[in-house]
Symmetry: C2
Subunit: 282 residues, 2 copies
């Protein structure tokens, strides 16, 4: 397929990493960044993640494809006005929640020009300096409600993710949010809460620094993640997240009670149950 | 220093990985394994982790140094009888809890021949096949209550860990157990409980497999850990673990309540507090 002029709204971890791939895989003829933060705009240019930075309206007018990679609350408020401004351009988003987003434009006259996607990749860092090469390769991407997207848009989106080397799955937006709560969002909450627990109990920061093993680091790593990205995700997906978070608190209480009451066999069974994750995560 | 004949009681992940280092750093003239599992004994010989496998009494009689690397409940029951059987040999353990162990031999006539140590390294795997090269390098090791250990024993133990490339810290046994609960044991409980949460809620295992990102994998990795090792750790260190686990449940409830009540600013503050872990964990 022909290379496209692509505008990326939000050139941070997610948008910046995609920009690198779009260029490397010869999918873009020109990359245009849109950035609300002047520091991020300057950094994105310095790192050559994009060819130029333009105001939103100009970027939309000069692009063939518009990709939104901003926090999911901004996404929901910005997407309808982006759709208002386009002609025949294609629009896609890379956000971590989908129900509210597809709902807010479900009756938009240009709904067909939009494709909702969620590439399952991220790190605990943020901003353009956090963008990495090869980020999305061999990862999964979810296309939500593709039956609402025009065929030519869907064809290009599938072509783009295939060239980047992503496994593509189709999911209804509500199902996406449910699974994302279980497999991604809850991990971030447990990691944030673990960091707060240890910072609360372990007053000797030097002890954390000296003693922290690879195990501690891996469970607490996500606690470095950016609130601007995660607060809106937790609030938009609150029903699913509250459900899984309540279950998690119950599971922790089972550990607590069996330790407190010296129930060796119960404790062993709880751990053996947890070991079943080996079947799924190698 | 002269190379030693070293007996390793328990040639699994921890003992087997140390055996590799003892040989590589020319600390051992001969490595003798003691194994209650015939399969592990055969595997340890096949992998050449040890030169021979002997029954406990013979191993003690022919060794200069005896290293215990078995679950901490077996450690507490076995150590006094090992101390009964030695003459002038040196004994050390590599266990994850220390208070009960130093208590149980505090009045032993040969107490000075023993040194309590905790190298801060491990993985979620177990058994001799899980032993890895270079495991302990650049990690911390804690020496507990060294004032109760004879000088010649302490000298060799320090020499050994220094040659392996470990940072050595001294800590009182009770302080060790407190810090270990905060910085290691709680991470394992949260990971086990997260695995059980997701396995309970996410009935579509295929969805976990397809969608699980690096973030999920890192928070749930420790859930593969061996119950034979971890049940006794949790029970021996129950006072400290219950304390930090109750705090963790409270921290999770703060996240739950602020999400449930749409308290955006509170949620942002909770995450910003968690971000402070960046100061400590790079």
């Amino acid at each position: 397929m022909e290379r496209k002029k692509i505008a990326i709204i939000g050139v941070g971890l997610i948008g910046g990493s995609l920009a690198i791939q779009l260029h490397e895989k010869k999918l873009s003829s020109r990359l245009i960044g849109v950035e609300s933060s002047p520091e991020h705009a300057a950094k994105a240019l310095e790192l050559e993640l994009v060819d130029e930075v333009l105001p939103l309206e100009e970027a939309i007018a000069s692009a063939d494809v518009i990709i939104l990679a901003i926090p999911v609350d901004s996404m929901v408020s910005l997407l309808p006005s982006v759709m208002d401004k386009i002609d025949r351009q294609m629009v896609l988003d890379l956000g971590s929640t989908k129900s509210q987003l597809v709902e807010v434009i479900s009756h938009h006259p240009k709904r067909g020009r939009f494709c909702a996607t969620h590439p399952m990749w991220g790190t605990e860092y943020s901003g353009p300096a956090a963008a990495v090469k090869g980020a999305y390769e061999n990862k999964a991407v979810i296309l939500c409600n593709p039956e609402q997207t025009d065929e030519d848009v869907l064809d290009w989106v599938k072509h783009m993710f295939a060239k980047i080397g992503m496994r593509q799955l189709v999911m209804e937006a509500k199902a996406h949010d449910l699974h994302a709560a279980y497999v991604s969002h809850i991990s971030h909450i447990t990691s944030f809460a673990l960091a707060n627990t240890v910072l609360e109990k372990e007053k000797e920061e030097n002890a954390i620094f000296e003693l922290a093993s690879a195990g501690f680091e891996s469970t607490v790593r996500l606690a470095k993640s950016n609130p601007a990205m995660w607060v809106p995700i937790f609030l938009q997906n609150k029903v699913n997240i509250l459900d899984v978070l309540n279950e998690h608190i119950e599971q922790l209480k089972k550990f607590r009670d069996s330790i407190r009451d010296d129930k060796t066999e119960e404790l062993r069974t709880l751990i053996e149950d947890a070991n079943k994750i080996r079947r799924i995560i190698k």
